[in-house]
Symmetry: D2
Subunit: 292 residues, 4 copies
C-alpha cells in the first residue's frame, strides 16, 4: 500500500517519521524539499509535487494548516484529478465542517475515498505517541486506513460514516479548551481584584475540583504570564472558534459561550496580541476589570 | 478548648463526627435534637439553643445553608451577643461575600474573632476525609482554629487576613464548575445535533484533553440523563452564580460567562427543573437547539 | 384631601410646585428645610419629620432616590406606624420590584392603601408637564389618587391591581433605554474603526430607521463626548439594570441583553467613570476595540 | 449616459420605474423577461443577458439578493469583462464588506469605476420616494452616478472613498434594527410573565421614551403576532447579523449584542420559523421563559 503524505510542517514531519519507523512505504511532498531530507535519509521517497505524489498513492494524507491550504492543494495543486479511483484521501488537518463537506463531495464524484481524521495533540505528542486521532468516513475506507491512523497515535476514535462529523468533534474539542480558558480568565480577574494570587487560586480549584493537567498547564501559563512562545496563537484560536460558530449556525445551535470566547479573543487581537498564546485572553479580562 | 457546632445537616453531622473521633470536646446544637443523638452517644454535649452553645464556646462553628440561615442564627438567635469576647466564630457555610463582610464587622465590634472557612466537597468527602477547606481571617484567630480545620479535611488553604476573600474563592470555584457544565451543555447540543453520541464525545475530550474526574462525572450525568437525585440542585446553582455576579459587581469585574450560565439555569427553572441537578442546564441547550 | 410629600430633591420639588399650582393642599417634608422655602412661600405647610407629615395625610407621596431611602423613611422614620388607616401611600420613586412587594405587604397589614406610581421623565419634564406616570394598586386607591397623578404629568398609565408591576414596567423601560445605548455603543465602535464619523452614522440611522428623539439625544451625547453633566450616571444605570435582572430572575426570565449592558457599565465603572452619563458605556466599547 | 440595471426583483423593478419616470435612458435585464414587460412598455430597452447589458453601459446598476448573486453575475455572467473601461458599476444590493472589497479590486484592475450604494427602505419606500441611499467610492465616480442615486430616493448619504464602508454602514443599520427587536423581545417576555399586556407596554415606552415609528411597527407585529407575511425573514435577518459579525471580526471589534441577536434568531430557526418575520425572535424569548 503506497502512502503519500503532503505537508511536512510541525505536525506532518513527526507523523511521517512515525510511519517510516513502523515500516510503511512512504512518499512525501512539501513546499520546500529541505524539510524532507531527514525522512528521505530514512527511506522516504520524494515527490516533486502533490500531484506527482497523488498519482501512485493508495492513501494520500494531508497535514496542512487550514481550509485554504487543503483546498488549494487539492484543486489548484491537481491532486483531485491525479488521485486514482479507489484511492483514499486522509485529511489530518483541522479544517472546517464546510470544507470537509466539499472534500466529501469532490472525492465521491471521482470514485475516490475520503476519511476525515483530525487529531488532538501537538508535535511533542506525535513524537511521544500520545496523539489522539478521530476518524469518520465510509467504513470500508476507514478500515483500510486504520493501520496508518493507529500508527500515528495512541488511540483512534471512530465517529461514523460522515467525514465532516470528525471535523465538528475536533472543533468542539477546541471550543471546550477555549471555554476552560475563558472561565480561568474571568475567575483570575475576579480573585486577583480581590487580592488573591491567581496561582494559589489555580492550585485550589485544581486540587479540590478539576484535577486536570489541562487546567494546570493553561492556568500556569496565565499565572506566570508565559504567553510566548505560543503553543497555539490567539489568531488560530479565533479561527477555530469561528469555525465552531459557523458549524453551529449551519446546524441551528446557539452557542452563547462560544460568542463570549470570540469577544475575549477579539479584544486581545484589537490590542495587537496575535502572536501570544490564546490563553492570553485572560489579559482581555484584566483590561476590562481595570487590572494593570 | 470548647468547640460548639451549630447546624447538623448533611455536611454538619459528618463534620461533628470527625471532630469527636479526633478527640475534640464538642457541644452541638440543631433545630431538631434527633439528628444529634448519634453524636451525643459518642460524647458530644447538647445545647438547647445556639445562644446556649455560644456562651461557653472558645470556637463556635456554623455549618448552615445560606446567608439568611447564618445571619438569623447569629442575630435573632442571640449568638452574637452570647459569644464571649475573644471567642472565634468559624463559618463553614457557603455564604455571600457581603454577608461575610457583615459578620466580620459584627464580630470585630464585639472583640470576637471571625474566621471564614468555606469548604469544597460533599458529605461523602467529609466522611472520606477528602474535604478541602479554605480559610481567611486575622492570623492569630486562624492559628487557633487551624487544628479544627485540619481535622475536618485533607487540606487547608490559607487565603490571608480578610475573611470575605475565602467566600469569594469558594464562590469562584463554583463558578468554575458551572462554566464546565455550560461548556459541556453547549457542545453536547452541537455534537448531538450532528448525530454524535454525547457519551462518546465526552470520552474523547476527557481522554484527549481534560483527564478530569469532574468532567467525567458531570458529563456522565448529562449523557445518562441522571439528574436525580441531585447532588446540587439548579436552584442552588443559580444562587451561587448570583452570589458570584454580586461579588464581581461590587469589585467592578464583568463576568460574561457567569451571565451565560445564569441564563441557562433560569431557562431550566422556567420549565420547572428546580429539583434536578444543576448539570441539567444541558436541557436548556437541547430545548434551544430543538433537540427533543 | 390632605396630601403630604416627602423628598424635595430634583424631582420632588417641581412635583410639589405643580401640586400647589393646581390648588392641592400640600404638606412637605425633607431632610433639609431650605429646599422647602419656595414651596412654603406658595402656601405649602411644613412638617418637621416624615412621621409628622404622615399623621394627618390622606395621601402620602414619596419621591426618593432608591429602595433604602424609601424603606428607611417608612420604617425607621416611623411613617408606616403614623399613617392613618385608610390613608394611601403613593410611591413615585424608581424602586425595586422586591421593595415594592414589601411596601404592599406592610401597608396592607395596617389597612393602609399603597399605589406604586413610578414616572418617566426628568425634572425638566415635570416643569414642562411632560411627565409620564405609571400606576398600579387596588382600583379604589388608584381612583382616589388619580387626580394627583394627573396633575403631575401629561399621561397616566394604569397597570392593574398589583403595585410591583408598575415598578417592573418602569425598570423595563430603563432597560429598553440601556439597550439602545448598548446598540449605539457597539455600532459606533464598529463604524468608527472603519473610518466613519459616528455623528454621520447617527444621522443616517435616525433619518432612515428610528426617527426617535431618544436615539438622537443619546447618540449626540456619544458623538460629541458630552458625558458631563450626567443626566443619569453610570452608577444609577447599573443599579437599574441590576434591579431588572433581579426582577427577571424572580420571574425566571433570562435577559441576555441586560447582562451585556451590565458588563459594559461595569467595565466603565472599573475605569472610574461613575460620574459620567450612562451613555458613556460607549467608551467601554472603544476601549475593547482598541480605539483611543 | 446609458444606464443598465440588472435585477428586477421587488426592489429593482420599482427602481427601474423611477429612473424611467425621471427620463433616464435605461436598459434592463433579468433572469425572466416577463418582469421587464411593464418597463419595456414605458421605454426601457431589454438586454438578453447581463453581459449584453454591460457592453454599452456607462453606468451598470445591480439590485440583487446577496453576495453570491452579485459575484456570479459579475464573474460567471461575464459582466466584469464586458463592462467598458471607465464605466461604473453601482451596487445597490445589501452585500458583505468582503464581497464589496472583491468588487472594488476587480473593477479597479480593469479601469472600471465602482460605487457601493446600498439602500434603506422596502419596495413601498421606493415607490413613495422615501428610500435612503448610502454611497461610497472614488469621488469622480460618485459625482457621475449621483443624479441616478438622487432619482432613486429622498436622500443620498456620501460616505467617502472606500466602497465597502457603505456596506458596513448598511449592515450596521440592520444590526441596530435587530438590537431593537432583541430589546423588545426580552422586555415583552419579562412584562408578559408579570401579567402586563405587551401592547400596553409598547404604548408606554414609545410614548414616554422612544417616539419611534420603527419601535411602533415592529412592536405591534410582535404584540399582534403578525409574523406573516414577513417583511424580512428570520433567515435574512440571521444572514445580515452574520455579515455584521464577520465585518466586525475583520476589524477586531467585539459585538456582544450582535452575538445575542444571533442566538435568538438561531433558536427560532431551530424550531422551523424561517418563513416568519425576524421580529418573531420574540418567540425565542417566550420559549425560554416558559411562556406558551
Amino acid at each position: 500500500m503506497n502512502i503519500a503524505l503532503a505537508g511536512l510542517g510541525n505536525m506532518g514531519r513527526p507523523m511521517a517519521d512515525r510511519l517510516l519507523d513502523r515500516g510503511f512505504p512512504l512518499t512525501v511532498t512539501n513546499r520546500t524539499r529541505e524539510r524532507a531530507d531527514p525522512l528521505i535519509a530514512k527511506g522516504a521517497l520524494w515527490a516533486n509535487s502533490p500531484k506527482e505524489a497523488a498519482e501512485n498513492a493508495a492513501v494520500f494524507a494531508t497535514v496542512l494548516s487550514d481550509d485554504s491550504a487543503v483546498l488549494s492543494l487539492l484543486r489548484g495543486g491537481g491532486v483531485l484529478d491525479a488521485l486514482p479511483k479507489g484511492a483514499i484521501h486522509v485529511s489530518l488537518s483541522t479544517i472546517s465542517v464546510a470544507a470537509s463537506k466539499i472534500l466529501e463531495e469532490e472525492h465521491s464524484r471521482r470514485g475516490q475515498g475520503y476519511v476525515s481524521a483530525p487529531v488532538f495533540g501537538r508535535p511533542d505528542a506525535v513524537v511521544a505517541g500520545r496523539l489522539r486521532v478521530l476518524c469518520a468516513g465510509d467504513p470500508a475506507s476507514v478500515d483500510i486506513v486504520l493501520p496508518v491512523l493507529e500508527a500515528l497515535g495512541s488511540k483512534v476514535f471512530r465517529l461514523g460514516d460522515s467525514p465532516p462529523v470528525a471535523n465538528l468533534v475536533k472543533l468542539s474539542g477546541n471550543f471546550m479548551i477555549g471555554s476552560a480558558l475563558e472561565a480561568l480568565g474571568e475567575s483570575f480577574s475576579l480573585v486577583q481584584k480581590a487580592g488573591v494570587d491567581p496561582a494559589l487560586f489555580l492550585e485550589i480549584i485544581n486540587d479540590a475540583l478539576f484535577r486536570s493537567p489541562l487546567y494546570e498547564n493553561y492556568g500556569n501559563i496565565m499565572a506566570e504570564k508565559r504567553y510566548e512562545p505560543a503553543g497555539f496563537t490567539m489568531d488560530l484560536g479565533l479561527k477555530d472558534i469561528r469555525l465552531v460558530l459557523d458549524a453551529a449556525e449551519a446546524l441551528r445551535v446557539p452557542l452563547p459561550l462560544a460568542g463570549v470566547i470570540r469577544d475575549s479573543l477579539l479584544a486581545g487581537l484589537a490590542r495587537g496580541r496575535h502572536p501570544l498564546d490564546w490563553s492570553a485572553l485572560v489579559l482581555s479580562h484584566y483590561d476590562r476589570a481595570g487590572i494593570s
